[in-house]
């Protein structure tokens, strides 16, 4: 059962029951889900086939009972290995009707006229189906209002179960082992592009199923941004190198980075690394049930503001789980109350000068009485890659 191998069926039943409880409280008759993590959250349906944009996939969560999958025939075999028993499929792509009729029929039967259909419409959500098909569907369902299900799903998915935390810890361990082996491959003559390839290989060797995200940089005295693909220039003494990975095991992500100095580090870089380390420490101290996401931002801000060239912008961390980035955001505007089981990244950064920055990122889980580090903590001192002449 590859599809459901990562978590026991009880987990999916429990998620469904909790969603249905929230739906009842909010007067939602059914959820309509279209995105990979939302469908997987309730079914365990795990496939990289979502990489193909050709076909839409639908999951309908009724007010009671098990979810109904309305999916392309190509996925019926795999979905059949999950706990879902009501699987309705069509031979996609179908240019006349790519599942809309089957989906509408399903919703009309499960939701009485006037019943509200919850669809994720808010922050960080995407409706993964063609807009023209959505508009066609809303015409058929004109007497069943659509409401935003994003808050409901956010609440539900933000708090992780012990089984989920164990999976995230595992991929963090894998990432940690791969990072510790970077000095094996970051040798004189190696370009950043080659380092990216080698590092992905290390992640796979250490047990990642795949590597959905890798960004980084290597430049003199700091990198220009944190989302770039690799360049083809060999690493050079004086470069600050950073690798930031979202590797995946059993469908759960880590998201953390590490920095190295190529050869001896300048005092500026050493100081910046220590400040960022201290910032994650302060955020971790502030992170407890009852604190708010913005409190973690506030805990890091004074230290960063004191050393940053220019105003501190952007978020300083975020949620993590089945997605590389999830709610909440560590920004002043996010007042999400932290609860035990919320997994976060702490991601302070410093601008050192024009086009020169440094970022550190760690992953934690909020516990009742403390924070648990999921990533092996970065060293306080910026590590140096030995570089022969």
């Amino acid at each position: 059962m590859p599809a459901a191998a990562s978590l026991p069926v009880a987990e999916y039943r429990s998620r469904t029951a909790r969603a249905q409880q929230a739906m009842a409280a909010q007067g939602i008759a059914a959820l309509l889900l279209t995105s990979e993590p939302d469908v997987r959250y309730f079914t365990g349906f795990l496939t990289r086939f979502w990489e193909s944009p050709t076909r839409p996939w639908f999951l309908v969560l009724p007010a009671t009972g098990v979810p109904v999958a309305v999916i392309p025939a190509i996925g019926a075999e795999l979905m059949g290995q999950s706990w879902i028993t009501d699987i309705r499929s069509w031979d996609a792509p179908d240019y006349a009707d790519d599942g809309v009729g089957l989906l509408a029929e399903t919703l009309v039967k499960l939701v009485p006229p006037g019943g509200r259909i919850g669809v994720p419409m808010g922050r960080e959500s995407v409706l993964r189906m063609p807009l023209a098909d959505w508009e066609r569907l809303t015409l058929i369902l004109a007497d069943r209002p659509r409401v935003d299900a994003s808050p409901l799903l956010r609440d539900l998915q933000m708090v992780k179960s012990e089984a989920e935390i164990a999976l995230i810890r595992r991929i963090c361990d894998i990432g940690g082992r791969a990072f510790s082996r970077v000095p094996e491959v970051a040798r004189p003559g190696v370009t950043l592009a080659q380092l990216f390839r080698c590092f992905q290989g290390l992640l796979l060797e250490e047990g990642a199923d795949w590597v959905s995200y890798l960004a980084g940089g290597a430049a003199q005295g700091g990198y220009g941004d944190v989302i770039s693909p690799a360049h083809d220039r060999p690493l050079t003494p004086g470069d600050l190198v950073m690798l930031d990975t979202g590797a995946v095991r059993h469908g759960y992500f880590c998201d953390f980075d590490r920095n190295w100095s190529v050869g001896p580090a300048s005092e500026e870089l050493r100081a910046a690394h220590r400040i960022l380390w201290e910032a994650t420490e302060r955020a971790a101290e502030a992170a407890r049930p009852g604190a708010r996401a913005c409190d973690l931002h506030a805990a890091m801000l004074p230290l960063l503001a004191r050393h940053n060239a220019g105003p501190v912008t952007g978020r300083l961390g975020h949620g993590l789980g089945m997605r590389l980035t999830e709610p909440p955001s560590l920004i002043p505007a996010d007042e999400t109350e932290l609860r035990a089981g919320i997994v976060l990244t702490l991601e302070p950064s410093l601008v050192l000068g024009p086009g020169r920055m440094m970022v550190q990122e760690e992953n934690i889980v909020i516990r009742e009485d403390r924070v648990e580090w999921l990533t092996p903590r970065a060293p306080q001192d910026l590590p140096e890659l030995e570089w022969g002449a």
Copy 2:
């Protein structure tokens, strides 16, 4: 310049000019693009950061002049390395207004009242922004009708330039070299999950930037489907093993597979492999400018129908390029006329029995007078992995 490294700026200028020509013909005053491949198509903006669902990204293509990027501040540095000069950014995530105001302002200025705004709404498209923000935007732009830009983009993106074909050929070569090394790693005791990890490592070693897609199977006498992740069972004599990869180099995909018998192959599997090989041959013979996508389906169908257990369903190939799967689809309903420069996968499959199938996939490009194979052709005879006792 990592962002624009893969293609010369002239390519992006030419794409923009051709889009604007088509827009003029269709009375479209501006295109609004939100998806990774659409934004990259006109800018060269290449980053794996799209993996994060948190932030929307917008590109506006006006009737004349260069595209305008309306993007989160975190991407401004990287976009600034492209040929795009008009970059408007905001500090995302912004819970009060996550770019909608800035985008609306941009569109209002570029498009006069009554002007039509083209947005991809059709097959294989997704609007990558929260639905609530989209609805807010349409209210602001109420006097500027939205029209479906999918046909325009499909026409434009389907025909590849020589530079694009060279990139696809390169990643196909990389995939071919990795496939040729599978016998190095598929040894007794290895599970399918381990084989998946090793194979991704081979792809990276051979030069892939990353591996966006890998599916496959290993089961006695044929696999159950072609989209599953790997199971943890060791490969066993009698298994038919298949790996199907969408690896990426400079943002362009290959998409092909290979099959092996673990130990000596049964006559049934050997015959099926030869039939599938013959099917790709027949499709390639039919593939020329002026033929339609459905003609390639028709060229394969009789042979497959004669040997298939049950009716032949699903598509038998598709377009390929900046996405793992692109239009057209090799299905009876797709009458897209093939033109020189269209890159296709040929992907015939055979159902051998309940839960047992075999798929072969190759990549080709349509030339004026012939077909060019981009993948090193699979052998006619099913290769066997030597398997000690």
